[in-house]
């Protein structure tokens, strides 16, 4: 297997907020109030780090446009259910 190109230190970017809302203002404060996931509405985009095929890389939701996506949140690795 080839060595994954991405190192272990690429920072995750988190939710991708629209340009006008981001940058100068503290985005975390706003994120707490905004719950934007709604059926029939565009899925909020994000870019976060991931483990896949033995290596680490950043995954951006919008990179999968054109495919059906099942996005599954779960409480934690090594839990029982």
């Amino acid at each position: 297997m080839s060595e994954p190109k991405d190192g272990c230190v690429t920072p995750a970017k988190g939710p991708i907020v629209p340009a006008e809302a981001g940058e100068r203002e503290a985005p975390q404060k706003e994120d707490k109030k905004i719950m934007t996931a709604q059926v029939g509405k565009p899925a909020p985009d994000f870019e976060i780090s991931a483990y896949y095929e033995g290596g680490f890389k950043n995954v951006k939701l919008s990179d999968y446009k054109g495919k059906w996506i099942v996005l599954c949140f779960y409480p934690g690795d090594f839990t029982f259910v």
């Binding site: 509405k41 976060i48 991931a50 939701l61 059906w68 949140f73 409480p75």
Partner: protein
């Protein structure tokens, strides 16, 4: 179809979980990217982050090829998911996207679908009846 799993664990934890446990449960392990949402920032935007517990609760979103959320299901931690229901919903949404037909309640793959039209108003009973099932307590 692309599956993405997300928890607040680090990607390093994902690696060890895959190597030490999942690989032994399932041949080849979990075959999709395991995303790390440390701090729960993405979970917050999706409405599944529990700040008291510091974790993302079980939330599942079906997103269509245009990036639109078609379905969501959120459970508290003690109950696991039903993959059969996920597949049923996924097949139903794929079918309606392809054909414009709609799926009545209790629809299963292979069962009749409905083509909405003015002529069908009041006539759904002719093509579709709910299956009776035992009454719940």
């Amino acid at each position: 179809m692309q599956v993405l799993s997300v928890s607040t664990d680090s990607r390093f934890s994902h690696k060890i979980w895959q190597e030490e446990e999942l690989n032994k449960m399932v041949d080849g392990g979990f075959p999709y990217p395991m995303l790390s949402d440390q701090g729960g920032r993405v979970g917050t935007v999706y409405g599944v982050y529990d700040p008291d517990a510091g974790v993302n609760i079980r939330g599942r979103f079906i997103i269509d090829p245009d990036g639109v959320i078609q379905a969501m299901e959120v459970l508290t931690p003690s109950v696991g998911r039903n993959v059969g229901e996920l597949i049923r919903q996924l097949k139903a949404f794929q079918h309606t996207r392809k054909t414009g037909e709609v799926m009545p309640s209790e629809w299963q793959p292979g069962k009749p679908t409905l083509k909405p039209s003015p002529a069908m108003v009041g006539k759904v009973w002719e093509v579709w009846k709910p299956e009776t099932r035992p009454r719940e307590e």
